[in-house]
Symmetry: C2
Subunit: 558 residues, 2 copies
């Protein structure tokens, strides 16, 4: 078949050093080598086979995941894999499972919020997987508004216990992965009540199922919340529902690193700064941005290969035109390709931001935290929305064939889209960014200089007046021109919104009324961040040696 030779032919036309680019993409030679080794390990082992996943009914699918997760754990032990290697292995096994929550949420929650003693008691059990944990925060009626959680943890000083209870239907824990079938324990978030007074939402370690027969313990009702989008996708995960009927736990199972309840039921704030939580948030969102570039690159890769192989119309000498040569295809595909690189670079930069924030926190410097928080919230929103849309666009770019699971794209979409909702709904996050931007603008001239990704607002006078110097299409390829355009757009939108807001007597009324406009300004600001990190990264020496040329980075996303 003629088609078989097309990809090598296309590859021979490359204008950059592919091996060097692989290193840039991975982040370092070491990261590339670990990734490459784990990819080969998974691909060569029939136990990690994925091709039957979309055909199975829910029960078989889930059994299959249990087998794979157990086998992966066995291999990790046998091969004495490092934490980094184990993480990459799970990445290539590429199947959401209860282990994600055990390692990614349950263990870190105990590490971050537990006292030394609590860590010493629970972490060894968790590390050996003698207990399996999940993270029970979201409720049927409460997702974004964590302060609205209804589950209660009432201190009983007579017995030195907390009573965990679900007072309403909407207080049912809903969504926790690993809860529906597997977990023996959970970190449960509940409103703390002592002496009849509320003290906000805190985490509690609660045993859910017997370690003997795996049955739910008395007072605990658990179920699986049923099928989710896609064939395989998140259906390999046992997202669950959980209610408590006056379940008692010892006082020392409240996670007490930051906030303590004494034997007498008194509340004591520890000297550990609460802001530490924001450091974790920066870390998690950095991971999500990295995942976005990864998912987007897979989709773009599939659509690009398809576009090179597929021919349709435009017959010359009996051979039709490769669809990648159609402008309508390029116009849709190439900006997504550029976005995949842009998101990769901004993800790498977020790693630096996390390190910087962590070092400052350790030195009790909280000054950069609001800006770092707004920045990561915005980038999480921007990159996940753009990636979800882009996967579907790539699917359509493969015509009818993109509708087959064999293309990989339907499952990639179905497994990816929750990223737009979890760890902060994307619109709610943009509103947080907008709030920060408006505040920053309102403080201009007060002596408080905007920092980090908002530093450009310090030049707002210039940016309100500057005129675009572009004369020809090529001018747009100059990084300085691109940057100024994005800065001017974002600055002008922020200032305009702030002015409109100031017309309202009650700022909150104004914020509600103008929220759709405010979201637009937040998007403009986030696009600027991506462009600025992209321009920076693509001008750095490491990348220049690859001689990579990008198309249309300014049309990316949203």
């Amino acid at each position: 078949m003629e088609g078989v030779d097309i990809l090598p032919h296309e590859r021979s036309k490359k204008q950059f050093d592919v091996d060097a680019m692989k290193i840039v993409w991975a982040g370092s030679r070491h990261a590339f080598e670990v990734s490459d080794r784990m990819a080969r390990l998974v691909a060569s082992d029939p136990a990690f086979q994925k091709d039957n996943r979309s055909r199975l009914g829910r029960k078989e699918l889930f059994k299959n995941t249990l087998r794979k997760a157990t086998y992966a754990w066995k291999r990790i032990i046998e091969l004495r894999l490092t934490e980094e290697e184990a993480g990459r292995l799970r990445f290539f096994v590429d199947e959401p499972a209860f282990t994600d929550l055990h390692w990614g949420m349950f263990v870190p929650a105990i590490k971050g919020q537990g006292t030394e003693e609590q860590q010493q008691k629970w972490l060894p059990l968790a590390y050996k997987m003698q207990i399996i944990g999940c993270y029970a925060q979201t409720e049927l009626g409460h997702g974004s508004n964590v302060q609205g959680l209804e589950t209660t943890a009432t201190f009983d000083p007579d017995k030195d216990e907390f009573v965990i209870h679900s007072p309403t239907l909407t207080s049912s824990k809903w969504w926790p992965g690993g809860l529906g079938k597997v977990s023996t324990h959970a970190v449960v978030y509940a409103r703390l009540i002592t002496n009849g007074e509320e003290h906000g939402v805190h985490g509690f370690i609660v045993q859910l199922r017997s370690l003997d027969d795996h049955m739910p313990l008395p007072g605990i009702t658990i179920g699986d919340i049923g099928m989710k989008f896609g064939n395989g996708a998140y259906n390999t995960m046992d997202n669950g529902v959980l209610t408590f009927h006056h379940v008692r736990i010892p006082r020392n199972q409240m996670l007490m690193r930051v906030f303590q309840v004494t034997r007498e039921g008194k509340c004591v704030q520890s000297n550990v700064p609460r802001q530490l939580i924001y450091g974790t948030m920066v870390f998690v969102r950095q991971t999500i941005v990295a995942d976005a570039s990864s998912a987007l690159s897979r989709a773009v890769c599939i659509a690009t290969r398809y576009s090179a192989v597929r021919r349709q119309f435009g017959s010359q000498d009996g051979v039709e035109t490769q669809v990648i040569d159609y402008k309508t295809q390029q116009n849709r595909l190439f900006p997504l390709l550029a976005s995949a690189y842009a998101f990769r670079f901004v993800g790498e930069w977020l790693k630096w931001l996390y390190t910087d924030v962590t070092q400052r926190l350790q030195a009790n410097d909280f000054s950069t935290l609001p800006e770092a928080h707004a920045c990561t919230a915005g980038l999480k929103s921007l990159t996940t929305t753009a990636t979800a849309d882009a996967i579907e666009e790539c699917r359509k770019l493969c015509g009818g064939h993109g509708y087959l699971c064999a293309s990989g794209l339907p499952e990639l979409f179905a497994v990816y889209v929750p990223a737009c909702t979890y760890e902060g709904d994307n619109v709610v996050l943009l509103l947080q960014v907008a709030r920060f931007l408006v505040k920053t603008v309102s403080q201009l001239g007060s002596g408080k200089e905007p920092i980090g990704t908002t530093a450009y607002l310090g030049r707002v006078q210039d940016l309100m007046q500057c005129r675009c110097e572009v004369q020809t299409a090529e001018d747009w390829l100059k990084p300085s021109v691109m940057l100024e355009a994005f800065e001017a757009r974002s600055a002008r939108m922020c200032v305009a919104r702030a002015q409109n807001l100031s017309k309202f007597a009650n700022p909150e009324d104004g914020f509600a009324e103008l929220s759709a406009d405010l979201v637009e300004a937040a998007v403009a600001h986030c696009q600027l961040i991506v462009v600025s990190k992209y321009v920076y990264s693509s001008s750095c020496a490491n990348l220049k040696t690859c001689r990579v040329r990008f198309n249309y980075p300014w049309t990316m996303g949203v």
Copy 2:
């Protein structure tokens, strides 16, 4: 639970006559009554249960569909349902099945392209389902470019037979619904070859499987092409792959209403006008536009109800704000609600267009055909793209809950999206519209007046110069203002594209180079059509009695 009372409370605030609106939506009182009766019939019969669909593995799912399709057929006979009633019953059974292709493609192909004798022979068998047929056109390598199909039908004058053959891998028939497991027969499209000469692509009735043991006949290889997007969705359909190895059929199984091959192998064009095919195309696309409004209304209905019931943040007196009261939610949801009505009205108008075209064709008047064809192609593209995007937006508007199959939205999306690809890829269709628009513009002033949906281009001089008279936001609610804005935009884009095209020595080179711009002009033209039919419909007496008020119709879609 307080939430339970919310919907009746919201409904009590309605400002229009809901019962009257139901009739408007259905198209007529008769249509509403049939629809309502069939909906109740399906909902009350446990055999049509749908709630287990997303949990089943492929094999069980497919068996389930066979049972349902057989049972539906039994009920249609028992209850002596009319064709209209049977159609609505299948609509509410709401599960793609081989019967869709049998009734919707196989039977109409024989009716439309078969001679009287062929109809008399095959239709009674098909009506009684003694044979089950599918429509085998698309090949692995050819979808949009029907003239590029590779399957051959070579006339053998010695035996008075055609030899159907698949010369390459890419010539495999790929996608036909009903082919993979069920069909006994197919209408197969193949390149006709007689006396060593090619005579274009024609349809042939080919028996695929034995009527005794259902095994594929000699020379025929059939398979199922595997899993598609979603849990249930199109996985209830046995989309198949089919190759022929020199399969012989009698000469009289070529569909010969329009084009005949004689006993001697001579080709004869009949006096039946070929343009009749375009009438069918208008009909099919009218159905697709109607389906778009139906799918979109389901999604919007789910998201609206959710938005009324769901509360989050903004606590006052302990009760949080209904998310439907947030501007960010309204701004995303209400334009989709308006679009559902707009697509419904434009769908009703297409029914009229189909009747008009059919009457003209019967009188040998082909003058309106190119305009009607461009109009329906564009509306198919516009409404299906907007609807697919809107279902996903509605899903996101339901937060995490939209990711559960229980919300209905994941399956609705997965089953809907192929509409963007089948019956003409949406981008390819827009390019056809653009071609027609450019041609129309180039003929202005030549004495050939633009007609129908392009009539506004006859006022191009005015539209190039007119200035928008809007002073206040309310001015946009005037239909005449809205219409003029859309007309001016579309006219100016069409003229600009035509001028840019005229700079190319070779028009085809220009068309390829400017295709992305041309697509934009086509979208502007199609949006104008929707707006004009919407403005017309919402000002008609029937609708006025409902006192319906719409939001933002001008921001709809794409």
